[in-house]
């Protein structure tokens, strides 16, 4: 699985963008999106996903169940 940003809750503050170790987050038409192909849920980098930790709105960066759980290589 990957993380996703719930667009209706996102304040577009951009705090998550530079924190992502996979450079998976970018701004798209004023809102921020996570590229599920690049997201590793921070596994292998950190104990906690960085976007979740830095986001000012709770429960806005959440697991996207549409994708299978990330497997570390």
């Amino acid at each position: 699985m990957a993380y996703k940003i719930i667009a209706s809750q996102c304040t577009a503050c951009s705090a998550c963008e530079p924190e992502c170790p996979n450079v998976a987050i970018r701004e798209k038409n004023g809102i921020f999106v996570i590229d599920p192909k690049k997201c590793t849920e921070c596994i292998g980098y950190f104990d906690e996903p960085k976007c979740v930790e830095v986001c000012p709105v709770e429960n806005t960066c959440v697991i996207d169940k549409a994708y299978p759980r990330y497997q570390a290589a």
Binding site: A12, C13, F46, P56
Partner: protein, 523 residues
Amino acid sequence: MQAKTAFVGVGDIKPVTPLRQLLEKVAEHKGCGTSGGSGKASCGSSGGPQDMDPEVWEKVKNHPCYSEEAHHHYARMHVAVAPACNIQCNYCNRKYDCANESRPGVMSEKLTPEQASKKVLAVASAIPQMTVLGIAGPGDPLANPAKTFKTFELISKSAPDIKLCLSTNGLTLLDYVDTIAAFNVDHVTITVNMVDPEIGQHIYPWIYYKKKRYTGIEAARILTERQMQGLEMLTERKILCKINSVMIPGINDKHLVEVNRAVKQRGAFLHNIMPLISAPEHGTVFGLNGQRGPTAQELKALQDACEGEMNMMRHCRQCRADAVGLLGEDRSAEFTSAKIESMEVTYDAQSRKAYQETVERERQATVAAKAAEQEQLSRLADAQAIGMLIAVATKGHGKINEHFGHATEFQIYEVNAKGAKFVGHRRVDLYCQGGYGEEESLVTVIRAINDCHAVFVAKIGGCPKDDLKKAGIDPVEKYAHQFIEQSAITYFMEYVTKVKAGEIIHQVRGDADIRQGAYIAAA
């Protein structure tokens, strides 16, 4: 200040901290800014640099946020280029954004550094008294270092006469002190709500520091350590530091005296204690759990208690991250990106300078105007036991020049045997809209200035006049278009004489409300 420079003695000063000591001297002496305990209002009785260090005076004299007197004449603007933040405060909710609301952290339009630079030039051309550009958010400028410093770089090239300042929570300040100094940013505001992590944990649920979220006491401990070190490093580099503190009754209200002491020790120049803005509709933790803000008397008592230690700022309007104009007015709606695109921008440094010289003459006239009254007052022995607050409707220029019904705020002056001094302001709803007043708004106005004995206005209608009298507030029109402080002293002397003659009985007034909620700017 020559005398004081000699007093400190060049030999006594440690090489790394000359300004800190100098500033403490200035703070003790109540030289400038937000009026000291001496009772002399505003920036010294002579309005000039002789009662403070010329170097400091030069830096603050046209900075509306650093000098109480300057804020009547000079304008500032904030550009909202810094959306990200690295800490969470219980009085802030980043989701809330409304064009009709005026409080820190709120803005309607996020700008890129390039857009911000263009906006600054457009505003500076339209408003020649615009002297200061600040980056205050809506997040933390230093959590967006690339955008913040790019903006400074662009503006210092295109409009070098504009002063740069920034306002930060201080968490990453240490990392950027040298960059701040390199960009000639000479004013930095740090928000310090506590110096004790036990208290801090009730204000900050978490911080994000060095790639990790911290919570509770640990978060507050890291924050306060970083803030204090950052403050020390800035003052060592002769960068003027103002401290903002939010007064939260029951949480840090008593503790702020300790904060005041801690920041003064580290060389802060000015302390701004602001009332908590808290309402359920803001969606903040404090708003939702019913945490109240302080009353006018509580706020003033705390400010008075800290004033013995250092200069207090009392004219803060807790403005938006994209505010434009004089403090107390917001012209941000005139300068949206779309409007700027269609504006013809010609940056004329010469005419700006000429305008600012006019302003300088005007403010010196304000100070000179009250000299005779001040002298008379000092000889009026009966004044000793009496003090009062006076609310003033003003559009600026140090004069009573606003209609009661058009006032969106009242400035509050304290008058006693020592003289007249600005001690704050009260925001009120527009009482008069469309030519007639509404009863309910008048009640709000009276509540906001209920601690005042009189209200000075340029003009006032019959109905509100009667209601004010019933509430025990004297509506005064006779000083219309005259200088505020001069008129306040004259009124006070007449009042004292009447009390002495037994014509009136002096009574102590009650408390007043600090207005919460949305501020609807005059459209």
